[in-house]
């Protein structure tokens, strides 16, 4: 075992750090959706020009072709530089692109991959429905074949960035009467196609982060099917697991950075007892616990990356990390509200009115979205522990 980065990895870190120092965007991301999307596209163009677009993508497809550990270093350097994340381009770069590389036709790859890398195409995900969230295989949105088109009818839910997306990875039931994982097909849906209506869902923080998407006789060319009819489940899931581990790198660095900010908050905030929160042993121990947990999460990620590089198949590691990161984030957010006291109750239905309180509520988004923590425990019980199934 060793914990040192190789000379090549250290050289990559130096190159990434120097590039970010010269090129990282520092002005804050706007909140208005169109302006925010324009900001994301501009940052992606900059990344592309610098050779940092599509970190995990093979260079044959125009990606940066980074190793797993180089990607980890990149996320560390992004956090260190305070540079923006992918935001509205994250589905395109972290999921849609890798899925097309793995399952797409040459024509699909040739058209879409360069557009994604250059920040010209925002993608959203069309998997979940009102009745199929954590239980994704219960989805009902259907597609009927009509000549060289699929006619889609139904409704998707929880579609992040649906209001600004150009394309959608859409999972639909194309075999009438099929159930569960069978009979599903993954298609590329152009969001400008007639019959699509995007309706924002206001969340408990008072913001429009996600959308409902309605499909009324939406005609999608059969040429947009990825991976073949009836293969949708495998196509959708195949790219999830490794990407999930990598996507938590960014979350982890955010968690570590947030702990530092809470330590600073504690040192400048008085409790109702009059004691400075930073001098309250119970509060400081809970912060220390969060710090220890964050270090454990980082260690688990490094172990997982080591295993992946050694050629191991990914198992339940992504589920363990998600369960752990979100649980610690939530405990930390609850602690912040205890520290803030009355100030935590002042909130104006918008993250800028009180970022701490916004983050406190955001914790539930993390423990529920992308497979609730209950589902993650089921995945661990099935795949890692091989316990008998209840379902």
């Amino acid at each position: 075992m060793d914990f040192a980065y190789s000379a090549a990895e250290e050289a990559f870190r130096a190159r990434a750090r120097a590039w970010l120092a010269a090129n990282a965007v520092t002005e804050p991301r706007p909140t208005e959706p169109e302006a925010a999307a324009a900001y994301d596209r501009a940052w992606q163009r900059t990344l592309h020009a610098g050779g940092f677009a599509g970190l995990s993508w093979p260079s044959a497809y125009g990606g940066a072709g980074l190793t797993l550990f180089e990607q980890a270093i990149w996320y560390e350097e992004i956090a260190r530089a305070g540079a923006p994340g992918l935001n509205s381009l994250s589905i395109a770069l972290s999921h849609a692109g890798p899925t097309l590389i793995r399952h797409g036709s040459e024509a699909q790859k040739a058209f879409h991959l360069p557009r994604i890398l250059r920040g010209e195409a925002i993608w959203c995900q069309g998997f979940s429905e009102a009745g199929a969230g954590s239980d994704l295989a219960a989805l009902q949105t259907r597609g009927e074949i009509d000549g060289d088109h699929i006619v889609v009818n139904g409704q998707k839910m929880w579609t992040s960035y649906g209001h600004v997306a150009d394309y959608q990875e859409l999972l639909i039931r194309t075999e009438p009467g099929s159930t569960r994982h069978r009979g599903l097909t993954w298609v590329i849906c152009d969001m400008r196609t007639p019959g699509i209506q995007v309706t924002p869902v206001v969340n408990m923080m008072g913001e429009q982060h996600v959308n409902m998407v309605f499909y009324d006789d939406v005609r999608i060319p059969i040429a947009n099917v990825v991976g073949g009819f009836g293969q949708g489940w495998g196509v959708a899931m195949g790219t999830l697991s490794v990407e999930r581990v990598m996507s938590f790198l960014a979350d982890q660095f955010e968690l570590i950075e947030k702990i530092d900010r809470v330590v600073a908050l504690a040192q400048s905030t008085r409790l109702d007892s009059g004691t400075l929160a930073g001098n309250d042993p119970e509060i400081m121990r809970r912060l220390a616990q969060a710090r220890a947990d964050a270090l454990a999460i980082r260690a688990m990620t490094l172990v997982t990356l080591s295993k992946l590089r050694g050629g191991a198949e990914i198992g339940a590691e992504g589920s363990m990390l998600k369960l752990y990161v979100t649980t610690v984030y939530k405990a930390l957010s609850a602690l912040v509200l205890e520290i803030l006291g009355q100030d935590g109750l002042v909130y104006g239905d918008d993250r800028h009115s009180n970022r701490w309180t916004y983050d406190f509520m955001w914790a539930w988004v993390l423990t529920i979205s992308g497979g609730s923590n209950e589902i993650q425990r089921e995945v661990i019980a099935d795949r890692l522990l091989e316990l008998p199934r209840a379902r």
Binding site: M1, D2, F3, A4, Y5, S6, E9, F69, I259, D260, V263, Q267, G278, P281, M284, R285, L287, A288, Q289, R291, A292, D293, L295, A296, I297, R298, A299, M300, L302, V303, L305, S306, K307, R309, G310, M320, L323, Y324, E374, Q376, R377, E378, I380, A381, L384, L385, E386, L387, P388, R389, A390
Partner: protein, 325 residues
């Protein structure tokens, strides 16, 4: 960067496991006498009192990572915990230049108990492990203190974990005081290693049971009320293992942040051992509270180790101090 075990590291794990299965079967702890004799010779033959001690000081010159792997097996199999205080005592004796004493400790001819200070009693200690101990070692974050027990009066106390005999003693002037944090870091890794091994063992034992035990016509492992705590146990065990390895490598290679990683590994392993041992008894149901089952042995070991090297509160206080600094 590679945090998976290499072939030599697996060899260390396998040979430790094999030795413990033969010399220290868990079944020994159900017998009336229940205690480990201070049979130092077999342990000394394995080199366990001097794994991470440099060769120039008479040790095997292996790393704290290798040593942590051995202690993980001791924790997993409820092996002889007094290896830890004796090994640290040997290091302290060797560093102080008392080579003859170091040699007797390394050869298993002498042994050390762990001295845990009793609150509010100046000079009063609870000695852990080693009814026949010749020495006692007190290990603090920035200091290690070695006492000779010759002539000391020890009041034996019945022990929750019968394999770790307890005795109250007043200790006078120490023979060696080493003002150095290195013994603590090494002991802390060994302790966290035992706790992480224990956390893994009770998780595996519970998952195996959940696959076999049938209630209401189904194995209990099919119920989410059992599956979900099993998943939580697995997460705690994996978090403890990963952070322990990370911390041990950081200490071995003198990396930045090693001190914080060691304390964090202690905090995470402490909880993993205590909480997994708790869940294990609960999920075993009635049989879990019987003497004949192993579950209580792990709980008693977890509780005892949880008070070695100072409380978890003190560990968190040190992490908090580092975060503010």
């Amino acid at each position: 960067m590679d945090l998976t075990l290499g072939a030599e590291e697996w060899q260390i794990v396998d040979s430790a496991a094999q030795f413990l299965a033969g010399a220290y079967p868990i079944a020994r702890l159900h017998r009336a006498e229940g205690q480990d004799r201070a049979d130092g010779t077999a342990l000394a033959a394995m080199g366990w009192f001097a794994i991470a001690l440099p060769e120039r000081l008479g040790g095997l010159g292996m790393s704290v990572v290798d040593e942590a792997l051995v202690f993980r097996e001791i924790g997993r199999r409820l092996g002889p915990v007094s290896v830890l205080p004796t090994a640290i005592a040997a290091e302290v004796a060797a560093r102080a230049g008392t080579d003859a004493l170091a040699g007797t400790l390394i050869r298993g001819e002498a042994s050390a108990a762990l001295a845990v200070a009793l609150p509010g009693q100046e000079g009063g200690f609870m000695l852990h492990g080693g009814r026949d101990a010749t020495h006692a070692i007190r290990i603090e974050p920035d200091r290690a203190t070695l006492h000779a027990l010759q002539g000391a009066s020890i009041d034996p106390r019945p022990a929750l974990d019968k394999s770790i005999p307890l005795g109250r003693a007043r200790l006078g002037q120490p023979m060696i005081v080493l003002e150095d944090g290195a013994p603590y870091r090494r002991a802390a890794l060994a302790l966290a290693a035992m706790q992480s091994g224990l956390a893994e063992a009770v998780m595996a034992m519970t998952v195996d049971y959940a696959k076999l035990r049938v209630t209401f016509g189904r194995p209990i492992g099919a119920y989410q009320a059992v599956r979900h705590p099993c998943a939580d146990m697995a997460l705690r065990a994996e978090a403890a293992r990963a952070l322990l390895l990370n911390a041990a490598v950081a200490v071995r290679d003198g990396l930045e942040g090693a001190a914080e990683l060691v304390e964090a590994a202690r905090a995470i392993s402490h909880d993993a051992a205590i909480r997994n041992a708790d869940d294990s008894i609960q999920l075993h149901g009635g049989v879990g509270i019987t003497e004949e089952h192993d579950a209580h042995l792990f709980m008693k070991r977890a509780q005892t180790l949880g008070q070695w090297l100072g409380s978890k509160r003190a560990v968190l206080d040190r992490i908090a101090a580092m975060a503010v600094a």
